[in-house]
């Protein structure tokens, strides 16, 4: 069975400072991992995904994430936060043991950005 734990329910940063959102996963097979962002009253937007290629994955809007198998982690970072980064972020895992992909979502991390 697969699952995801997002270690922080809320992260607050100042504009221009780094952002770190922590995610640990559990998976029986080779996992694919995603980060999605959800702005208020908007749908989920894919930030980036890891699918067993390079362990450092670059996404949109300056975000990147590093897959660490030994730590079962997939933390999301951004060097410099912008006000528009204020949103809910979800870490997601899926197992590619078949063509039937089921996403398991973390509980989410709310990011607030202080001016």
């Amino acid at each position: 069975a697969q699952s995801v734990t997002q270690l922080d329910s809320h992260v607050s940063v100042s504009e221009g400072t780094p952002v770190l959102l922590r995610c640990n996963y559990s998976s029986s097979y080779s996992p694919s991992l995603f980060w999605y962002v959800q702005h208020p009253n908007k749908g989920l937007q894919l930030l980036l995904k890891y699918t067993s290629a390079a362990t450092l994955v670059k996404g949109i809007n300056g975000f990147e994430a590093e897959f660490k198998k030994s730590e079962t982690s997939f933390h999301l970072t951004k060097p410099s936060a912008h006000m528009s980064d204020a949103a809910e972020y979800f870490c997601v895992v899926t197992e590619s043991s078949s063509n039937d992909y089921k996403l398991s979502f973390g509980a989410g991390t709310t990011v607030t950005v202080r001016a």
């Binding site: 749908g43 039937d100 089921k102």
Partner: protein
């Protein structure tokens, strides 16, 4: 490329009433998903379609929830009768057949009073 469309965006009903949500996936996407997102939680899968067939509806409360995708394109999700605990955002997503990346619509926010 047009994204996943959902309507209505917001709905307020009283308990025991019925409600229906509509989803139009990205053109060419054979797989369609309905998720329920309760406030403060991540989305949870309700049902998955491949074309017009159900792949997984194990988490769908079938005594009150139903969904269909008759022509393998648009889909509707219905709740009858609604309960207070059904208040949530209902998200529709689609993907190409055999692809793991899902694309989400804006969701329908349901409030049951």
């Amino acid at each position: 490329e047009a994204g996943v469309a959902q309507s209505p965006r917001y709905k307020i009903i009283e308990k025991r009433q019925s409600v229906a949500f509509w989803c139009n996936p990205i053109s060419g996407h054979a797989t369609l998903y309905w998720y329920q997102q309760i406030l403060g939680q991540g989305p949870k899968l309700l049902i998955q379609f491949q074309n017009n067939g159900v792949v997984d509806d194990s988490q769908l409360p079938k005594d009150r929830f139903s969904a269909e995708r008759l022509k393998g394109v648009d889909s509707t999700l219905k709740i009858q009768p609604a309960k207070l605990e059904d208040s949530a955002v209902y998200l529709c997503a689609s993907s190409l057949a055999g692809e793991e990346t899902q694309y989400f619509g804006p969701g329908t926010r349901l409030l049951v009073l």
